[in-house]
Symmetry: C2
Subunit: 478 residues, 2 copies
């Protein structure tokens, strides 16, 4: 079957029939569970944070409360060929939850129960609508936490679906490393659980990892067991500036090679620092407008002291200046605030009517400096205002480019700029998406990264589990 023919199955969906059948869902799940409100529908089918939007909208939004509700919805949708679009926090940026073939949005925000917590096993079982910040607040007294760090508004279901990460990944890995099992409702409404709760297994296919990062295209995740880490005894933060991106990247690379177990290793370019200053700095403080590394340390007091000294030495070997180490929790928060507020600073700094195109790639560590340098030069040449933020310990960086969406020339420029960055990442043996998934926006990029044979295997797997192409159709690949 050709890709086009496969996808056509979703586009044959008849909204009128869909509407009638969604009424049937209302009858079973209750009036409150389905919304036909236009504003609600608009919020679920469009994202201001994303440049990958589309014209079509879902016909309605349903809010299940249990796995059984979701299974019932899937059965109805499969019987009447209604596309199903899972929705969690809505913070993804690659058009991961828009509805290009219309269909029914399944919003998991009402499924926010903590099902069970096993402190002695260091795991917790949650529904997909739980927010990770809330979860960590609840867990705090146990001394355990989920060590991911995506958008504060992200919900666990979406975090699993996009295999998210954030600043902690250099120390703790990405979402896939913390998922013990998932309960999944398949397209036909059957329910499976990928695993029990062992911390380690080699029994059968790794279905947990297959569903993690599959963006709702293989099944809908309705329950997740998460491994938890111990909250470090202490944390601290340091900061240093560098004469160039290259020196900052070389410092990051040396830290990784030395095996220092850094808790986070973030780079912000001079533009990003300038934007923070323009926005009033952090806590009244203004920053040097130079390539800057932020280091987070964790462990015992002694271990941190030792790590800080080693990092200070490596930094100065690479012309690092203004090395500053937080001596109190207040100082730590103040230093880290520069990183935390970077996105908001960019959003606040943009002129009226402009949008931000924010995307990310990841490359092998040794190519980091080069790709950032080239990408910055290119956006500069195109006359676009852009800043760079890098999770440099992972070879992962984000470029945020400002543009006026009503100016076709600028729109094209920003698109060219992003595509050039993606091509370059692929040439450097990297990936077109480090932590945002593929969604609607990067399908062509994925094909460029992996080639038609590898994407073809993904399609074969998808077809075997979702023969009518009803689960989040039009995402990842066509």
């Amino acid at each position: 079957m050709q890709p086009a023919l496969y996808l056509a199955r979703s586009s044959m969906f008849e909204p009128a029939i869909g509407r009638a059948k969604v009424f049937a869902i209302t009858e079973t799940l209750g009036e409150d569970s389905v919304s036909w409100d236009e504003e609600e529908i608009a919020i679920h089918g469009y994202s201001e944070l994303s440049t990958s939007n589309c014209e079509a909208r879902p016909i309605a939004v349903v809010r299940p409360k249990t796995t059984e509700d979701v299974a019932f919805i899937a059965k109805i949708c499969t019987a009447f060929k209604i596309p199903m679009i899972p929705f969690a926090g809505g913070s993804s940026v690659e058009g991961n939850f828009v509805a290009p073939y219309s269909g029914l949005t399944i919003d998991f925000s009402d499924m926010k129960r903590i099902v069970s917590f096993h402190p002695d096993d260091m795991d917790v079982v949650v529904q997909p609508g739980v927010n990770w910040v809330d979860l960590n607040k609840l867990l705090k007294n146990s001394g355990l936490f989920l060590p991911l760090d995506p958008s504060p508004t992200a919900l666990i279901g979406g975090m699993v679906a996009t295999n998210c990460s954030g600043t902690n990944a250099v120390r703790y890995g990405t979402m896939k490393d913390w998922v013990v099992n998932v309960t999944v409702v398949l397209a036909d409404g059957n329910v499976i659980k990928t695993r029990h709760r062992p911390r380690k297994t080699s029994a059968g296919y790794n279905l947990t990892s297959l569903f993690t990062g599959s963006e709702g295209t293989l099944g809908m995740i309705t329950e997740i067991t998460l491994k938890l880490a111990t909250i470090p005894e202490k944390q601290s933060v340091a900061v240093a500036t560098f004469p160039s991106i290259r020196e900052a990247a070389a410092t990051a690379s040396k830290i990784m090679r030395t095996g220092i177990q850094i808790a986070a290793l973030e780079m912000m370019d001079e533009t990003q620092m300038m934007v923070i200053n323009k926005n009033g700095g952090t806590g009244g403080r203004l920053w040097e407008e130079k390539p800057t590394l932020l280091f987070k340390f964790s462990g015992t007091q002694r271990a941190i002291e030792e790590d800080v000294e080693r990092v200070r030495t490596i930094s100065s070997q690479h012309s690092g200046e203004n090395f500053e180490f937080a001596k109190s929790e207040e100082e730590m928060n103040s230093l880290w605030a520069a990183r935390k507020e970077s996105l908001w600073a960019m959003l606040a700094a943009r002129p009226e009517g402009t949008q931000i195109w924010s995307t990310d790639v990841a490359v092998p560590l040794s190519r980091m400096a080069e790709i950032i340098d080239l990408s910055k030069k290119e956006s500069g040449q195109l006359g676009l205002f852009s800043s760079v933020l890098g999770h440099v310990g992972d070879g992962n960086f984000h470029q945020a480019v400002m543009y006026n969406p009503n100016d076709p020339e600028q729109k094209q420029s920003v698109r060219d700029c992003v595509l050039a960055m993606v091509h370059r990442a692929v040439e450097m043996e990297g990936t077109v998406s480090g932590e945002h998934g593929i969604g609607l926006g990067k399908k062509e990029c994925l094909l460029e990264e992996l080639g038609p044979e590898t994407v073809g295997v993904m399609r074969t797997l998808k077809r075997s589990l979702d023969p009518h192409c009803l689960l989040n159709p039009g995402k990842i690949f066509d």
Copy 2:
């Protein structure tokens, strides 16, 4: 399609036709590449280390040298419906490489090139026939290593195929955490590469993790990029004895909860210590015959000193005695030797004519002590001699039971004993295989662990990639 009908496709294989076609392979790959030698065939179709053997044997053994060779073999085998059984180090124990439907064994031991090494990216690209001990010797001067620790005879291809681990898993995770990408020859001879070399990605389905641990049933792995870790500045070892398994397990659990980053955390029961003593001890030293914990520490000198003190305190809070900390590299090796030699000690200790049934399960951390206690009691009641070895930081343990394979009653007893351990692990929300895979031996156990729906999804995926059931048929599930 019913499972039986699907598998029947493999059993329809005609050895006579197969032989003729394998001659065609010889013509292309060269005389040396195919062996018809009976002894060779016997070695490849049977394992003394395993209790999951079968009567059938492969028709021949082929040794490819390149991915193209493997693709050519797959095309011939698919055209003439010849089962393909990938073979690496032959150290697996669940019958992972036997040939219940006969077919052609593809031995990867001639594919042992290190394709490329990228020290600055902290990764290495290898063929599947590379031995991990050899690899680590070659990498040593770079300060990097692959932090897995399975059988010293294991080859990378088999390690990936069974998602192996070993004593380092508590600190470094399992094989899946170190595989960046795999090149795979599919059943039809098509070749895919799952990913480039980014250290982090959220682009498309995690095919790398799907092939890792799939035991050659979805494709044949012909090249692997491995992430590498920094060799710790220093290592050390300590040992302590405990009045009971429960106290030892409680100590392990407390260490994990405290977040001490232990490099290895191994338990050996009093029987295992006795066996080591019977075998002459280690380096002339005799051990206390009590439940014993071995701790491995790694990091800087200061960090190790700090960790040792914390572990000593926790041990003494749980009635730990004879806490001994290695003060030199020699002492370290001598203490660790007890763990290293445990399997050989068991093999040496077994009376003439007996065999060892060695298997493993993993459970949530809090159930560790209970399952070991119960399993030991049960094997004792059955009159069997058995010892326990646990990777207790992961909730994973091995029981080795001695029995006379010619005594049907004993054979049944050991089988009952192993099945009881597996049932118990499942009841405790654990897994039936922590690090050995499923192979031929634990198919029923996997079904018990995950249920027919979840195993059914595995079968659906397998069928989609291998419709004629030619890749290692009869393994993981029927």
